[in-house]
């Protein structure tokens, strides 16, 4: 099945089947592409174009939608992702401190404990379905317990909403409403009980002011949905993508499990895994004025899809772009997996640490990890990762 570029859209099942070759074709043949799908939109696939547009937040705005595909409308909107300055800056100033590198460093022992507990649940069995036994749970537990200060009791409910939003965005209005109401309940509960004292994310949001006013209920809901989705979804997919490579590329397994592997070297490898396979491959902006990109006239109001995942494979930016070069130096790996510009992924440093620590704990317990299913299907959704990953392994003597 060849992808119909004229009607290209990121969730096309045909794209999922022929993913990287199609994106390479677009970079070569039509790097600034006009798709006729839906009401029509532009697709940028070259690193430089994506990078420039992502940084030009005045010409390419987020407030009119950041989804590459149509979403069913809800009054709950993912902000700060779907916000512009100065409002966007207000929200990020309230949120950023909780996800700064130093804060994440403090969470590392907890992340390690959560990873260890989940792995100990199946390590002696010698097999697992990695996505549902580990990958989806670990970031969710870390986010719920360490960031939101909640038990993980609501994780299943929240995951169901997140899945609907990612897989079936056209029919996700109810999921947005319900997810938002869940966030509202967290805020109402906190208002009722008063600040927690140690000043967590919810306290910071309730204390935040924009133009002198507290954040509206819909804003609070939108922020909680936005950060929870971010916390749950992409890290889970990234871990699945990495284990897929570890189990299907022997040289990759040998490298990451070598006796001389260190945390520093693994952190470098994690960046390359993240470049190679972008768990949220695209996002959109809307042009606020007429503007030209490489001779194409983008009109005010046009939607522009930024294919970060494709830019990350652009040979004009990265030597050996289609190869997994696990010791690619950090200074030569300016990938856009966490986006670029002021909307840079809030949780990027949390994600990096979660992934590295998860890998360390996995390799400490499991050896000879092999794929135990014939074909791995990548889910055809806004976030990209294996649908399932059945693994077989030996428990490492400890």
């Amino acid at each position: 099945m060849t992808v119909d570029l004229e009607h290209f859209w990121p969730l096309d099942p045909a794209l999922s089947e022929d993913y990287w070759p199609t994106l390479a074709r677009m970079r070569n043949e039509c790097p600034v592409h006009r798709s006729k799908a839906f009401e029509g939109f532009w697709v940028l696939t070259k690193y430089d174009d994506v990078w420039q547009v992502a940084r030009d937040y005045e010409t390419f705005i987020s407030g009119k939608g950041v989804s590459a595909v149509p979403f069913e409308e809800s009054r709950v909107r993912p902000v700060p992702a779907m916000a512009d300055p100065p409002f966007q800056r207000t929200l990020r100033k309230a949120l950023d401190p909780f996800f700064a590198p130093r804060q994440v460093e403090l969470l590392e022992p907890y992340i390690r404990k959560v990873a260890g507990e989940l792995l100990d649940g199946f390590a002696s069995r010698g097999s697992c379905e990695f996505m549902h036994d580990f990958s989806i749970h670990m970031p969710a537990r870390v986010f719920f317990e360490a960031v939101l200060g909640l038990s993980d009791a609501d994780v299943a409910k929240v995951r169901a909403w997140a899945d609907t939003m990612m897989i079936d965005p056209h029919n996700s209005g109810r999921a947005w409403d319900e997810f938002g109401a869940w966030g509202q309940a967290l805020c109402d509960d906190r208002r009722h009980k008063g600040p927690r004292g140690d000043g967590d994310v919810i306290d910071a949001l309730l204390a935040a002011r924009f133009e002198g006013e507290p954040l509206s209920d819909y804003t609070l809901q939108g922020v909680i949905v936005n950060i929870t989705l971010g916390g749950l979804e992409t890290t889970a997919m990234a871990l699945g993508n990495i284990l897929y490579r570890v189990t299907t590329m022997p040289e990759v397994a040998a490298y990451v499990t070598a006796p001389d592997m260190t945390s520093e070297k693994l952190a470098v490898a994690v960046e390359e895994f993240l470049r190679y396979e972008t768990p949220q491959p695209s996002i959109a902006r809307v042009a606020s004025r007429d503007v030209e990109i490489d001779g194409h006239l983008i009109r005010a109001g046009d939607r522009v899809v930024l294919f970060y995942g494709s830019g990350n494979r652009d040979g004009d930016m990265f030597p050996r772009a289609d190869e997994l070069v696990l010791d690619r130096p950090l200074e030569e790996n300016r990938h856009m997996t966490f986006g670029s510009g002021m909307h840079r992924c809030l949780g990027s440093n949390l994600a990096r640490t979660e992934i590295r620590v998860a890998l360390e704990e996995i390799f400490a317990r499991m050896t000879d990890i092999e794929l135990d299913q014939h074909e791995v299907r990548f889910r055809n959704a806004i976030s990209r990762g294996p649908e399932t990953l059945h693994l077989r392994f030996k428990e490492r003597a400890r």
């Binding site: 940084r55 950023d96 590198p101 950090l330 200074e331 300016r334 966490f338 002021m342």
Partner: protein
């Protein structure tokens, strides 16, 4: 002692990726707003090299290292 090179960080371009402090932890940090700051200006060839690597690795290209005169 005049610095042999000078680090300039464009705070309007910095988005807080924190790659500079991962690449050269002795020379960079983040401030309370999550933007990069330099901790010291380079005084040795190694430090110039460290600053250059951080500048090269900055996803926003917000760091410049200018040769001293």
């Amino acid at each position: 002692l005049s610095p042999i090179a000078r680090i300039e960080i464009d705070r309007n371009q910095c988005a807080g990726h924190a790659r500079c402090l991962t690449i050269s932890p002795d020379m960079f940090d983040l401030d309370d707003e999550g933007r990069a700051i330099w901790l010291r200006q380079p005084e040795t060839a190694d430090e110039v090299e460290g600053a250059r690597r951080a500048a090269h690795g900055c996803p926003e290209q917000a760091i410049r290292v200018d040769e001293g005169s």
